[in-house]
C-alpha cells in the first residue's frame, strides 16, 4: 500500500529521536560557576581535608556553597551564581595558601543518570566561554644553529686531538664551514669527522688558496632536531599550563613549528599570559669553600623538600640556556645519572671553571621567575589583590667534580632513577630547546563570552520562530510536519555536537541558525513537488509518493555539494570558522534525515493507507 512505513521503520525513527533527546538534554542544564582547586606540587594533594578547610573559610565569610566534590584533577566547589564565585576566590586562596592553585571555572551540571550514559553538554569555544588563545612559534632555525654550534666545538676538539691543522670554523645559514690551508689536511679531517660524526653531510670546496670542508645536517637529522625542539617546548608549556589549574587546557602542535595554547574559561587572562610567558632557568654553581667570604655566598635549600641546605658561591658558571640536551641513564655501577650536553660557549666556560675545581662540589640550581598574587585584608575588611614578582631558587643536585668538565658531562650521586629522569626532564623543560615567540593572541573577556551566548541564543530563537511561522502559513498541515522535523533537527544536531565533543562557537551558532533556514529547503522541495503533482491531476496518495521520490535526488545532490564545501571550510579554517563548518556540515546531515525520513513518517501516519482525501498543503 502507498505511503505506509513498516513498524520497524517507525521504531527506528523513534529510537534515533530518543537517542537525540538524551544526548541533547545536557545542553539545557546551565553550567555552575565553580572554583577548581588543584595542588601546586605533587606533594600536596587535594583531599577531603582540603575541601573541609575551604568550606569552613566560606562559612566564615558568609558565602553560600552549592556543592563540593573531589575530582580526578583536584577539587571542585560549585556556587549558585557568579558573584559568589568571584567573592569566594580570594577567600579560598587565602585559606589554602600557596601550595594550591584556585582557578575560576564553569562546570557542567549534567544529572548523574545522563552522565552515566556518556552524555554531556557541547564544548563551548573561547568566544562563548571567555579565555585565551595563543599561537606560539618555535624558532627552529635558532635550534638548528644551537646544535650546529655544539657540533662545531666537538669537531674542533676532535681535530685538535688528531693534530689536524685548520684555520677557522664559521657557521652561516645552517652550514658550518671549516677552512684549511692544505687540501691534505682537509682530506684527513674529512675522513676523521665522517668516521666520528656520521649524522652530517660533508662537502668539499676550494676557493682561492683555501680549502673548505662544509658540514651540515642531513635532512632527516634536521627534521629530527626540529621535532625535538618543538616537543621540548610543548613539554615546557604543558608543565606551565598545568600550574594554572585550568580545567580543559589545550597545548597542541600546529604545523611544523607552531604551538597552540588555549585556556578556556580562564577569567584572569593577565595571570595566564604571565605564566605562559614566564622564564624558568638553571644555574650551575660551585659550593662555597670554607674560607669563602660571606658576601660572595648564598645559602639555598634543596628542592626535594628534605630541608637540606648548602652554601653556594654567588658566581654562576653557566645557566640552563647553555644546556642543549639532557637525558637520564645508568653509570657502569648501575647507579642513576644524568647526561648533560652544553653548547659551545657553555662548554668552554664549564671547562675553564672546573679545571681548577676538581674535587669540589658543584650545584645545579633551579630558578623560576614567578609572580604571585596575594589577597591582603584591607582596613575596611575587603580583600585586595596584591601582585609580587619573585624568583624561586632551589638546589636540584650537589655533586663532586671528578674531572674537568667539557661539553658533555654527567651528574651522579642521585638517589633514584626517578630522580635522575626528573632532573633530566627539568633540565630539558627548564631551558626551552629553541626560542619561542607569540605570533597570535586572542583574549576574550568572560562578559563578552556570556554576551555572545545570549546573542546567539536570542537570534536562534527568533530565527526559528520566523521560519516556523512562515512554513505554517504557507504549507498549513504540511508546515506542521516540517516544523516538527525542524525542531527534531536542532535536537539531533545538538546531540551530535555533544557526542562528537565538537566545539560550539558564535559563528557555529550562526551556522545552526543558517541551517534552520536551509533545513526547511528539503521540505520545500518535496512539498512543491507534491503540489505540482496534484496540479497535474494525480490523486493525493500518488502525489505524496512521487513528490517524495522525485525530490530525493535533487535534495541529495544539492546537499552533498554543500557538504563538500563545508568540509573544505573545516579543513582550511581555524577557530571560530571551524566551528561554523562543523555545525553547517552536521546540520546538513541531520536535516537530510529529519526532512526526508521524519517528515515522511509524519505524513504517512496522518495520510498514509487511507482513501485519497484533500491534502492541507
Amino acid at each position: 500500500m502507498l505511503n505506509k512505513y513498516p513498524l520497524w521503520k517507525y521504531l527506528l525513527i523513534l529510537a534515533v529521536l530518543a537517542f537525540g533527546v538524551i544526548y541533547a538534554l545536557p545542553n539545557l542544564y546551565p553550567d555552575d560557576p565553580a572554583l577548581q582547586i588543584s595542588a601546586q606540587k605533587a606533594t600536596s594533594a587535594v583531599d577531603e581535608r582540603t575541601l573541609k578547610t575551604a568550606q569552613k573559610a566560606l562559612d566564615k565569610a558568609g558565602i553560600e556553597l552549592k556543592a563540593a566534590e573531589l575530582t580526578s584533577a583536584g577539587g571542585t566547589l560549585r556556587f549558585d551564581n557568579g558573584e559568589d564565585q568571584l567573592a569566594a576566590k580570594p577567600v579560598i586562596a587565602a585559606a589554602l595558601g600557596d601550595s594550591y592553585v584556585t582557578a575560576l571555572n564553569l562546570v557542567p551540571t549534567t544529572p548523574d543518570w545522563l552522565a552515566s550514559l556518556g552524555a554531556g553538554p557541547a564544548k563551548l569555544g573561547l568566544d562563548l566561554r571567555g579565555g585565551v588563545h595563543f599561537l606560539l612559534e618555535v624558532d627552529t632555525p635558532a635550534a638548528l644553529k644551537q646544535r650546529l654550534e655544539v657540533a662545531a666545538s666537538e669537531m674542533k676538539s676532535a681535530l685538535r686531538k688528531e693534530r689536524i691543522r685548520y684555520r677557522s670554523v664559521a657557521i652561516k645559514d645552517g652550514v658550518m664551514s671549516i677552512r684549511f690551508l692544505k687540501d691534505a689536511d682537509r682530506d684527513l679531517a674529512e675522513s676523521l669527522l665522517k668516521d666520528q660524526f656520521d649524522s652530517y653531510l660533508y662537502r668539499t670546496l676550494e676557493e682561492g688558496k683555501s680549502f673548505y670542508l662544509t658540514v651540515e645536517f642531513s635532512e632527516a637529522e634536521q627534521k629530527e632536531i626540529e621535532i625535538y625542539a618543538l616537543q621540548q617546548n610543548l613539554t615546557t608549556l604543558r608543565n606551565r599550563v598545568n600550574e594554572l589549574g585550568v580545567a580543559e587546557p589545550l597545548v597542541q602542535r600546529q604545523g611544523s613549528n607552531r604551538i597552540v595554547v588555549e585556556l578556556p574559561g580562564v577569567q584572569d587572562t593577565a595571570a595566564a599570559k604571565r605564566i605562559i610567558g614566564a622564564t624558568a632557568n638553571l644555574e650551575f654553581r660551585l659550593e662555597a669553600g670554607l674560607d669563602a667570604n660571606a658576601s660572595d655566598t648564598e645559602t639555598l635549600t634543596f628542592r626535594n623538600g628534605s630541608g637540606r641546605t648548602a652554601q653556594l658561591e654567588k658566581d654562576i658558571i653557566i645557566t640552563g640556556d647553555s644546556v642543549s640536551d639532557a637525558n637520564s641513564s645508568f653509570d657502569e655501577n648501575g647507579r642513576p645519572q644524568v647526561n648533560i650536553s652544553l653548547d659551545s660557549k657553555g662548554g668552554k666556560q664549564m671547562a675553564k671553571v672546573t679545571r681548577s675545581a676538581v674535587g669540589r662540589n658543584m650545584a645545579v640550581v633551579f630558578i623560576e621567575h614567578k609572580s604571585r598574587s596575594r589577597f591582603v585584608e584591607q582596613e575596611d575588611g575587603s580583600l585586595k589583590e596584591v601582585r609580587r614578582s619573585y624568583s624561586e631558587k632551589g638546589i636540584i643536585s650537589l655533586a663532586t667534580i671528578q674531572t674537568t668538565l667539557g661539553n658533555s658531562f654527567r651528574i651522579t650521586g642521585l638517589d633514584s632513577p626517578r630522580e635522575s629522569s626528573e632532573l633530566a626532564l627539568l633540565l630539558r623543560a627548564g631551558a626551552l630547546a629553541a626560542p619561542i615567540y607569540f605570533v597570535e593572541e586572542r583574549t576574550i573577556g568572560p562578559s563578552l563570552g556570556a554576551e555572545n551566548i545570549q546573542l546567539g541564543v536570542t537570534s536562534a530563537q527568533i530565527g526559528m520562530l520566523v521560519v516556523m511561522l512562515f512554513m505554517l502559513v504557507y504549507y498549513k498541515a504540511f508546515g506542521v510536519f516540517a516544523n516538527v522535523s525542524l525542531i527534531l533537527n536542532i535536537v539531533l544536531l545538538m546531540a551530535c555536537m555533544s557526542l562528537l565533543t565538537a566545539t560550539l562557537t558564535l559563528p557555529g551558532i550562526a551556522g545552526i541558525v543558517l541551517t534552520m533556514g536551509m533545513a526547511v529547503d528539503a521540505n520545500v522541495l518535496i512539498f512543491s513537488r507534491i503540489k505540482e503533482e496534484l496540479a497535474n491531476g494525480l490523486p493525493s496518495q500518488q502525489a505524496i509518493h512521487s513528490g517524495f521520490n522525485r525530490a530525493f535526488t535533487t535534495i541529495f545532490d544539492a546537499n552533498i555539494t554543500t557538504l563538500l564545501v563545508a568540509v573544505i571550510l573545516f579543513a582550511v579554517g581555524t577557530g571560530p570558522v571551524k566551528g561554523f563548518a562543523v555545525t553547517l556540515s552536521l546540520g546538513i546531515l541531520t536535516s537530510m534525515f529529519t526532512a526526508i525520513v521524519v517528515t515522511r513518517a509524519q505524513v504517512n501516519l496522518v495520510y498514509g493507507g487511507r482513501k485519497n482525501k484533500r491534502l492541507f498543503i
Binding site: 597570535e440 520566523v466 526547511v520 561554523f580
Partner: protein, 304 residues
C-alpha cells in the same frame, strides 16, 4: 504558488549584460580600492573595551596619544559604550592590560576588557593564502562533482555562477569598505555552498526535463524548468533571508559582517541560479545528447 510562465530566457541578453556590468564594477573596485582586510589578514593588535558610560571617542584618542600610543584607530563597536582600539603591529603579551589601565586612569570611569587580539603579520599572510586556496579548492571540487553527477557543461555553468556570486559579493565589500575578516571568508564559502544548492536544484530539473520533454527546444525547456523550480527557489531564499536578517539584527557586532556577507551572497546567489547558470548552459549549446548517453556500440562484431 502556481507554476509561472515568465520568459526568463528571453531576457537573457539584458541579464547577461547586467551581470557582466556588476562583475566589471566589482573587479574595478577590487583592483583600485581593494578589500578592507581585517586584523585576521593584515596582522596587528586590537583591544576592545566596554565603558560603563559612553565615552567621547576624541577623549579616548587624546588619552592614548598622551601615553605614547601612536598610530591608533579608535572606533565604536556595535554600541556607544563599546570601543575598539586598533594598533599597528607592536605587540607585547601585556599590551591589552596596559591599554586598559591607561584608559581607566584617563577616564575615571568603569572600563572592562572585552577582548584583545593580536595577529602576527606572517600569520595574517598565511591566513589570506589559506583562505584563497580554500576558495579555489571548493570551486574545483564542486566542478568535479557536478561534472561526474551531471555533465561537464553543467559543471562550467554552475562554477561560473559561483564565481559570479563570489566576485560580486567581494565587490560589495570593496565598494562599501566593509571589513573583510575570517568570518566573512567563512560566509563567502557558505555562499558558495548555498548558491550551489540553488543552482543544482535548477540543473536537476533541466536534466529531468531533457529526459521527459523530448520535443521541446532547449531554450523553451530551460525556461520551463526555471519556472517550475521558481516557487521553491523563492521560498527557500525567503526562509534563509529571514533568519539572516534576524542574525544581522540580533547576532551582535561580532557576526555582523558575517551575516551581511551571507545576505548579499544569498540574494546574488538566488539571482544567479535563476538567470546566470541557465544562461551559461544555453550559451554552451546544451543539447539532449549531452545528457542522454549515446546508444551503445553493437557488441556483436567483437564476438567470434
Amino acid at each position: 504558488m502556481k507554476v509561472t510562465n515568465i520568459p526568463f530566457m528571453a531576457m537573457r541578453k539584458i541579464v547577461a549584460m547586467f551581470s557582466v556590468l556588476l562583475i566589471l564594477i566589482s573587479i574595478g573596485s577590487l583592483a583600485t580600492k581593494g578589500l578592507q582586510f581585517g586584523l585576521d589578514f593584515t596582522g596587528g593588535t586590537l583591544v576592545e573595551v566596554k565603558y560603563d558610560e559612553a565615552p567621547n571617542l576624541d577623549d579616548v584618542r587624546a588619552v592614548l596619544a598622551q601615553n605614547n600610543y601612536s598610530d591608533v584607530v579608535v572606533q565604536n563597536f556595535g554600541s556607544p559604550t563599546d570601543v575598539v582600539v586598533r594598533m599597528a603591529n607592536s605587540y607585547t603579551a601585556t599590551l591589552g592590560d596596559e591599554v586598559l589601565v591607561t584608559l581607566k586612569e584617563g577616564d575615571k570611569v568603569g572600563v572592562s576588557l572585552q577582548r584583545s587580539e593580536y595577529v602576527g603579520a606572517q600569520v595574517g599572510e598565511e591566513l589570506r593564502e589559506q583562505g584563497g586556496l580554500g576558495m579555489l579548492l571548493a570551486l574545483a571540487i564542486v566542478m568535479l562533482y557536478v561534472a561526474v553527477r551531471f555533465q561537464f557543461k553543467f559543471s562550467v555553468a554552475s562554477v561560473a555562477a559561483l564565481a559570479h556570486d563570489v566576485i560580486i559579493t567581494l565587490g560589495v565589500f570593496s565598494i562599501f569598505e566593509i571589513e573583510f575578516d575570517l568570518t566573512v571568508l567563512a560566509a563567502l564559502l557558505a555562499v558558495i555552498g548555498y548558491s550551489l544548492n540553488d543552482t543544482i536544484v535548477v540543473c536537476d530539473r533541466i536534466r529531468e526535463n531533457f529526459r521527459i520533454m523530448r520535443e521541446t527546444e532547449p531554450e523553451a525547456l530551460i525556461n520551463e524548468s526555471i519556472n517550475q523550480t521558481l516557487g521553491r527557489t523563492i521560498i527557500t531564499s525567503m526562509t534563509t533571508l529571514f533568519v539572516l536578517v534576524v542574525l544581522y539584527l540580533f547576532g551582535g557586532e561580532a557576526i555582523n559582517n558575517f551575516s551581511f556577507a551571507l545576505l548579499v551572497g544569498i540574494v546574488i546567489g538566488t539571482y544567479s541560479s535563476v538567470f546566470v547558470a541557465a544562461n551559461l548552459l544555453l550559451a554552451q549549446g546544451i543539447t539532449r545528447e549531452d545528457l542522454i548517453p549515446a546508444p551503445k556500440e553493437e557488441l556483436e562484431d567483437e564476438l567470434p
